[in-house]
């Protein structure tokens, strides 16, 4: 009698776990497959001795997933690096993401001209953050500002893009950030 009760109790306790396990059997492969998707990143160009990198400026996309940042791309055309992304419709609030990695492999300090905007102003405030320093790119009225920022040699910088909007945005928008080296 007792054995029967224990058996029935175990059945009742195990059943929800089994359902959870079944759900996990679908969820885990899906997350793994999404995570396995390759992303673009410049592989370090190591010389024969395996010590130094190419003596140049490197700008790489950090990638990864985010709730509003989609289809991030970095292109280099006519000596201008351009980072583009699609920003999904969102609730009011502040969003930020590490977007670029800037490496100055040169022997000297370099200056970069950085500016960015959306195609249509949506009342959002766009800023970039480098080494805890905030630079406003586009104000909520659509006014844009170009910044000249210096980067010391042999150092890696992570650029964060921060967006703040006080009302919710219902549609997707594209954002472009341009980076040009000043000779």
């Amino acid at each position: 009698m007792n054995k029967e009760k224990i058996k029935n109790f175990t059945k009742v306790v195990l059943e929800p776990f089994a359902f959870g396990l079944l759900a996990l059997l679908f969820i885990i492969p899906a997350i793994t497959v999404i995570n396995l998707e390759p992303i673009t990143k410049a592989i370090k160009d190591i010389n024969v001795l395996g010590v130094t990198n190419k003596s140049e400026l490197q700008i790489n996309a950090i990638g990864g997933s985010h709730i509003i940042f989609r289809t991030e791309k970095v292109q280099f055309l006519d000596n201008i690096y351009s980072y583009t992304t699609t920003l999904l419709g969102r609730d009011s609030g502040r969003y930020s993401k590490p977007i670029l990695e800037i490496v100055n492999n040169k022997e000297d300090e370099i200056s970069l001209e950085i500016y960015g905007s959306t195609n249509i102003p949506t009342g959002s405030d766009f800023t970039i953050i480098i080494e805890d320093q905030v630079y406003r790119l586009q104000g909520s009225q659509g006014n844009t500002t170009t910044h000249k920022i210096s980067f010391v040699p042999k150092k890696k910088y992570v650029v964060y893009l921060a967006i703040e909007n006080f009302t919710s945005i219902q549609f997707d928008e594209s954002f472009e950030l341009s980076i040009k080296e000043i000779e």
């Binding site: 089994a18 079944l22 885990i28 497959v33 673009t40 990143k41």
Partner: protein, 182 residues
Amino acid sequence: MSTLLKRALKISLVPAIIMVAGKALGIFVISAIHNFPIEVGNDISGFFSTQIYFQDEVVTYFVNSLSDFTMLISLAVPTIYLITKTALFQSTLQNPKTIVKVTKFNMLKWITRDDTTFLMIFVWSAFLWLTAAIVIKNVLLDRTYSWIGIVAGILVLFVGLGALKTFEVQVNKVYPNSNKYY
């Protein structure tokens, strides 16, 4: 634990492994064939921190597309086989002409045992739907060739119809159509 749940757990293991293996093998085999430099890093936080990097955007697009296709095909082939097998088995019960055709194509093994259940077909189809959803999401985000998304959409449609037909067959086994007998 119910027998149905036990069987569902047992059946789900193989397609889950095939789904991940199809994607991973797709990436590594295609990279090896075309000699693409590949780097595995772990500098992004998320569910899993391991990431696969390629140097060029075009290469990333190409490898991701073909690995999506490999994953899709590795799940679609067994699912279509299960549905076709069940359809043939049912057809042989109702139509003797099918037996002749099956014998002609030396496929008698397919109809000698009814070991394919609706549960099995449903689980495999569910994994294929999940895979197709991921592929279509990648197409919409411009990470995979659009033709792979179209193939995924067509496969999902046909497999869905096949699963529905199998479900009808199973229901008819439990609740036979009265018009047929009276």
